[in-house]
């Protein structure tokens, strides 16, 4: 009964109360006697609450709300499940894509490895190409001597037949003998050049052979110089050799160490040539090679008074494919391969010292044992 309120209609006046939604009387209006004078007795009216306050509506609404929540949850759950499925699909798709990319990457890595091998071969061929010119010059000279001294010997022997004086005959015999000796010397000279060329191009065996470092260094010094001369006939440079006599034989793979020597010489000649282009007057290009024995090692020093290496690139020069030469002039592999040969192949050391505009010095240290 709490929810109900009573209104009293009195005989002499009417009082209308306005009841707010909570049933509290907020306003009372009194009418004058006479308007509803006929109302003598008071009647008790029971006014029920508005329908929106009724319990059944409340229950109904609660039911609706519950249903709405229920369906909402269901809807959300379903959409989450859907999203989950979609996510899983996406993850699968991406995993597949990743796997594809992985295969692609490993393929391209394989390609790269193949390319690198090819490049190493082509670097070898490039240095062989540089050598060829030097070799051509080096072989041409002994061949000229062989041809000339052979021809001369035939001429001298023809003369010999006609000479009657004994002393003249002896003179011709001496000349022919000398010529034949020269032929042997120049034949051997050509032979050793061809051998070192073959050694350079052949696949290097892993076997280390006790080697005369002075002889190897000297030979490739000349070849590299003539290689440079063949490429640029105007190139000139003072060559200096300071080789310590009586060095012990060093166990090395000769064709590999000769590649290193050749690479460094080529760089030295290039460096003095570059400096010569800038300072034409009073500049005397000079490349020197020295060998000496230190504690348990043989130290090979290649010094040039070329343009030098700036400090900011000194660390990069042993990186593969790093070159400061114009495109096509260098593969950028020479020094990186050299480093590999000396440090990894021979347990040696290869380091560089340079002052830009003054000199560059490469030091190769090889253990004697």
């Amino acid at each position: 009964m709490k929810n109900k309120r009573f209104l009293l209609f009195l005989s002499c006046f009417i009082c209308v109360s306005t009841i707010n939604s909570y049933g509290n009387i907020v306003e009372k209006t009194f009418f004058q006697d006479g308007i509803s004078a006929s109302i003598q007795q008071h009647t008790l009216l029971t006014i029920s609450l508005p329908f929106w306050k009724s319990w059944w509506l409340t229950a109904f609404m609660a039911l609706i709300v519950t249903l709405v929540i229920f369906f909402y949850i269901r809807l959300r759950t379903n959409s989450l499940i859907n999203q989950n499925i979609q996510l899983e699909e996406k993850v699968n798709l991406m995993t597949n894509q990743l796997q594809d990319k992985n295969t692609e990457l490993s393929n391209s890595m394989e390609n790269q490895r193949r390319l690198q091998t090819q490049l190493i071969v082509s670097e070898k061929m490039a240095s062989l190409g540089q050598l060829t010119a030097g070799i051509a010059h080096e072989i041409q000279n002994p061949l000229n001597f062989i041809n000339n001294f052979s021809e001369l010997s035939v001429e001298l022997l023809e003369e010999f037949k006609e000479i009657k004086e004994e002393s003249e005959k002896l003179g011709i015999i001496d000349d022919v003998k000398q010529n034949l000796e020269k032929i042997v010397i120049h034949g051997k000279r050509a032979d050793s050049i061809v051998k070192s060329m073959l050694q350079h191009s052949r696949k290097a065996p892993d076997e280390k052979i006790p080697t005369d470092i002075n002889k190897l260094v000297e030979e490739f010094f000349v070849l590299a110089y003539h290689g440079m001369r063949a490429k640029d006939p105007g190139f000139n440079c003072v060559l200096e050799k300071l080789l310590e006599p009586g060095l012990p034989l060093v166990p090395v793979i000769p064709q590999e160490v000769s590649r290193v020597i050749l690479n460094i010489f080529n760089n030295s000649f290039y460096a003095v040539d570059e400096r010569g282009k800038i300072e034409e007057k009073n500049y005397k290009p000079k490349v020197s090679i020295s060998t000496r024995r230190t504690n348990g090692n043989i130290l090979i020093k290649i010094h040039d008074n070329g343009k030098g290496i700036p400090p900011e690139i000194r660390e990069k020069i042993f990186n593969p494919f790093f070159t400061t030469k114009p495109a096509g002039d260098g593969t950028g592999l020479g020094l990186s391969i050299s480093y590999d040969i000396i440090v990894n192949g021979h347990n040696g050391e290869l380091f560089v010292d340079s002052v830009p505009g003054e000199f560059t010095e490469f030091n190769i240290s090889l253990p004697i044992k």
Binding site: N144, N148, F149, N236
Partner: protein, 124 residues
Amino acid sequence: MKKILVVDDEHDVEHLFLQRFRKEIRSGLMEMNFAFNGEDALTFIKSLNPYDVVIVLSDINMPGMTGLELLKIIKSEYKTLKVMMITAYGDESNYNNAISIGADDFMSKPVDFSALKEKILNIQ
């Protein structure tokens, strides 16, 4: 008599020229002198008294002073001296270089000695 200076870094060139021109040397038509680098060649020319070399035969590719540098010096300081360049690289650029510097003649290796003999003997 033709006094000749041969400049080449190959020492056996001396034996070769002496034998190739043995008859001319014996008969007094030629006199052969040798220098094994450009610097020595200049020292030799400077020391001449009387100044009677008629031709210098020079290699181009030598360590140190090149044949072309030697040619340049000879042509500026000893203008009357004839110079013939001999090189293993008988290429166009070497030839043009030598001629533009003032070489009187040019021969490529292997040297044709009978042609060279003719050229030397015809020098006035």
